[in-house]
Symmetry: C2
DNA sequence: TGTACATCAGTGAACGCGCGTTCACTGATGTAC
DNA sequence: TGTACATCAGTGAACGCGCGTTCACTGATGTAC
């Protein structure tokens, strides 16, 4: 049974996360400041140090928070589709990433944008949540391979050095799939985030596309063809 | 004939650009500061305002400088290959982008990373140089289409709203190519920068790939297949 | 060629601002006897 | 149930720092006569 003090502490920590998100949205990660967060919290700046040891730890908190939310959104979107519909699930995963990124551009930038100057995310705390997102995105492809629904590879085999790197990755993914499937999974991962980043970071120009989701969709289906995922009619 | 004063002014402006690049590399665009640039220049901070009207204009200067250099590098790499070798030229363009980005991560981030908080690039000065890069990257694909060397489209036609947006883009590209070719050009563009961004912004994890260029290469050739660019043997 | 004036690069002080972090403190909440 | 002590959230002042930008100025360079 938590004491009132414990409950208050959890509440304040939740408030800090929430206000941190707002800060992020308002000024970006580079300008995120402990003092201004304290002002929003209605507290003197030094009080925040009861909850986070430093500005860097505050950033880490927000990184983990964002990864978790994004991963959750992707996982939920995938599971809303029928288990056998691999392409549908992959498209759903892509759109989940895009929807979240469009709704939360600042948090997306924190995770997948240019690095925050002077801040290095502590691997032991962020790698886990970060990997969860990746796995959620490529899961439909991996499942398709497991079900034997993936068209066989066409291209040449990968160079030896690359093959060795892939072994390490295989251990993380936890599936014994062949090199070419793994490369395709990597392509899916990078392409999805590449497409989303372009849109969110404004590379297309302000008014070039009236319905960016349509472009994303068109490119996603091309991507599905590329990796050998074809919908069953 | 330039007066000594004019020559000195040009020299100082060049120094400012050079030191600005160094600043960018050292601390990133968000922390780039007029005062610290003045220190590097060996001059009092207010003196810099003889050359740039504000910090924002300094950033614009660096944006244009970077676009121009990158575009030049891509164009040169493309022209080093035989005119008929469309796939070779596209791969060369991709590698030119990657090489430049790896060598100049901070300047790459300024152009293609998350937006600099509080800074909005003036479209009338940056759009031109920015477009030059895009055109240089997709030029080999466009040329392949002109030469009739592009495999025909397979996917469904694009939605009407998207088609209308594409008309506007066609005007910029200055070529009367069909929608599906244009979509493929867009895919090339976004994918190349997506792949490069992932590597430069550290999404792969520090030591995941011992030779990232190999992964890039493998993904580039998959991309060439996707868009219907196949090398002639 | 010489002089008077205009231009302009660079100075140094100042304005007003925000930052991260430390530290001794007050006073409320929690706990052990 | 009551008391003494420990814990800990939050205060307010301070440290030392850097920032963008303005402004009146000095003195060298350039130009018109």
């Amino acid at each position: 049974m938590p004491t009132p003090r414990q409950r208050a502490r959890e509440q304040t920590l939740a408030d800090i996360t929430r206000l941190g998100r707002d800060q992020l949205a308002a000024v970006g990660a580079a300008q995120l400041s402990v003092r201004s967060l304290a002002r929003d919290l209605g507290v003197v700046s030094s009080a925040v140090y009861r909850y986070v040891a430093s500005r860097d730890e505050l950033l880490t908190l927000l990184v983990v928070d964002a990864y978790d939310e994004l991963a959750g959104a992707v996982e939920a979107a995938v599971e809303r589709r029928r288990a056998g519909d691999h392409q549908g699930r992959l498209v759903a995963a892509g759109h989940a990433v895009r929807d979240w990124a469009v709704a939360e551009p600042a948090r997306y930038a924190l995770l997948y944008g240019s690095p925050v100057p002077g801040y290095q995310a502590p691997a032991e705390r962020t790698t886990g949540p970060g990997t969860r997102v990746i796995l959620a995105v490529v899961a439909p492809l991996v499942q398709a391979w497991r079900d034997g629904a993936l068209a066989p590879a066409e291209g040449p085999s990968v160079p030896r050095t690359l093959a060795r790197d892939l072994d390490a990755i295989r251990a993380v993914v936890g599936a014994e799939m062949p090199d070419d499937v793994l490369v395709r999974a990597l392509l899916v991962w990078t392409s999805v985030f590449g497409l989303v980043s372009f849109e969110v970071f404004g590379q297309y120009g302000a008014d070039t596309f009236s319905r960016p989701a349509q472009l994303f969709d068109a490119q996603l289906s091309t991507l599905c063809e590329t990796v050998g995922l074809v919908s069953r009619r």
